[in-house]
Amino acid sequence: MNLIPSLSRSSLLRLFLVNLIFGCLIGAGIWFASREVFATVSFADILEVISQDPDMQSWVQKNTRGFDLIQTWFYPALAGLMLLMTLIQWMLLRGGFKRVIRKSGIDAASRKTAKPAAAKKKEKQEDEKPAREPAGREQKEESKRYYLHLISVLQRQGRLMDFFHEDLSAFQDAQIGAAVRSIHENCAGAVKKTIAPAAVIDKPEGREISVPAGFDPAAIKLTGNVTGEPPFNGVLRHRGWKAGRLELPVLSASGDPLIIAPAEVEIQ
């Protein structure tokens, strides 16, 4: 989980640098502009205009302290403002990619996809929203791929889609049996390799077991005469299935996500 701290550190540095450059640009702009103004109209001219109008004179005298204050504190205030902006931007950005990473499930497989998405956002930090949208779309395409991946593996290794597509009524049982043997063997092998299925409750079916309080309703389904409070005593009717391992493949974003198996063309 050291992805988030490392990402936020590097993005803070970049944000700081960008805002520093901005601050310098603004400061320099104002400095040059004011110098330009005083180059064409000298200070003496202004004083002369002011001295001719008594109203103006009194106003200037009242506000001299204010002008001095602005002159001395303008640049520090600008720097402070920029620092504050850096901090706010950073916090917004950090919250943003924390959410994205959590959604994509932080593991080795997502490392590849999460990083470029975050990097892209860092570059376009000025306008955050448009940057997040393509990442979201990419993720959506990727979930489509993940959804179809297992069936694509089963087709690749066991021809399962071809089998589902067959009209079984056209064939004799013996013919079907011959084909199924091979499909069953290969699909079973593929399933075993990819998700290593295991029983949720590894006890013989028909055995009396006790379900303790605080059981996970997703893992154990109670049927029949369910009354009272746990622990429940009952007979194990189905052992259930769970994945013994779940290693998500890395699927690249390019290519049509709806492809399950490619068409084959033999070049003669």
């Binding site: 021809r159 067959e166 013919q175 011959a178 990819t194 290693e247």
Partner: protein
Amino acid sequence: MDQPAYIIGIDLGTTNSVVAYTPGVPETDQTPEVRVLEIAQVTAAHTIEKQPGLPSFIYLPGHAEAGDGAFALPWDPDNRVVIGEYARIRAAEAPQRVIASSKSWLCNTSVDRNAAILPWEAADDVKKLSPVAASSALLAYLRQAWNYEMAGDNSALRMENQEIYLTVPASFDAVARELTVQAAQQAGLPRVTLLEEPQAAFYSWIDVSGENWRKAVEKDELVLICDIGGGTTDFSLIRVSEEQGELVLDRIAVGEHLLVGGDNMDLALAYHVAAKMAESGTRLDSWQMRGLVHACRSAKEGAFSGSQDRDTWPVTILGRGSSLIGNTLKMDLPAEDISRVIIDGFFPKCPENEFPRTQRRTGLREAGLVYAADPAVTRHMAAFLTGRDRGQQETTAAPDAVLFNGGVMKSRLLRERVRDVLDSWSHSSGRIREINTENYDLAVARGAAYYGQARHGRGIRIRAGLNKSYYIGVAAAMPAVPGMPQPVKALCVAPFGMEEGTVARITEKEFVLVVGEPVVFEFFGSVRRQDDPAGAVVEDWHDQIEEITTLETTLDGEPGTTVGVTLEAAATEIGTLELWCVSVEDQRRWKLEFNVRQQD
């Protein structure tokens, strides 16, 4: 440099490669656990999955296919060379673009191993690789996969900064070992140490059984290691003895390089079935043939696993395209046929003095690689155990126990068959013991990682040394007869079993060499003659010693002058052999390089 974080064992197999690792510094006094690396690899276009091994296949896709990042790797988005599972699948579908068995090409003396020749018989637009470059590409892939999986941003964890043990067949000669080290260097792994595969399998067993291995073997016993993989077969013999109350292991013999393995068995069975189908009028195309090979492998594994006793084993070839069931071909293969093809073809009963047959079998020979002329593993085993020249007297080694390794040996009935044959040779009564191992596929890499620990004194080591006696050719001192080639005698420069890190100096013979001209020595090796000391001269050697290659160097100095030199052989710590010419006047030295070009 500090002790690296990991000790890594790499099994660069003919058909499958495995990486195992163990912490470099164990946390407790216990022998640390050895784990197998999950390797991310392309399994289909746009898909990368992790598997515990990497099929040793390299697929070189055309431009049209590799575009659009179809084969992008996590560490290389522009990748255009596919290594691993998808390459293995493509080997059957587009063989002109796939490099397979690159390791076997490394020890093939009939080609230049630094020339870009693979894939053998490739199309013109394929960018070919040399055998060394192909092995290097596989190792580089393993390095990148490791760095991606294990290292991240921490350079101290990168593979090149770990302690690496790379396994080679026991039968690899000095030249093939040297080339393996070169391939590793090209792959960015400058420091590797070589280890023989059968030894690694033995180490793996020691690792798994913990201290119990001491109970499984006894003093003065011989253990045969029989390693039958997908493409190669390798034998080694280990002697157990006792020194100061402790058991000591010596690797006392290795077999010759045999290109026969499980893949040949599947092919032989598939051809048998195809011939039967042809009798009934069904001709198979190449696509169906591939399905058949796969089905035959399943039938073979089923029939020899010993878990079911059936009269016939179904072999089905599914219909191509969408008409799956309608075009399915099915045959019930009698168990008798499987037994006849595999047992009689590859594991026949034979007397212990029967030697492998030498005629070429067309069904098993493919252009390029020199496959074993006789597929009978048992006859090769007989040749390995007998015919060893020990003190001018040919004796037969009778092993007391046998340790099996390799995918083929997963089949219980085949293991029993080999034991039956061994029993029929054994002079002592009683059945040969089988040393029980688990995990016939991953044992070698695990054993290599264990060996790394053992080298640091945390485990037992097998005393091994050189796997062959090595010789150079010297002209006999007799008057030249016109029209007759001058007879050549073999001078032993490095004896069998010469220990790593030692140097043998041959002072018996001094050579006077011309400076500034290329100097060429003939280089021979023998697994049969084990008792020749360094400096021994063998006059009649043609049936026991084989030519390997030539050794070459050019002496620097003033051209035209001569210099007297003696030879020096060094068995290096990393498992290679170096030969040097040392000047007798001053101590100038020139290294003799192995010639890896095509041999006539």
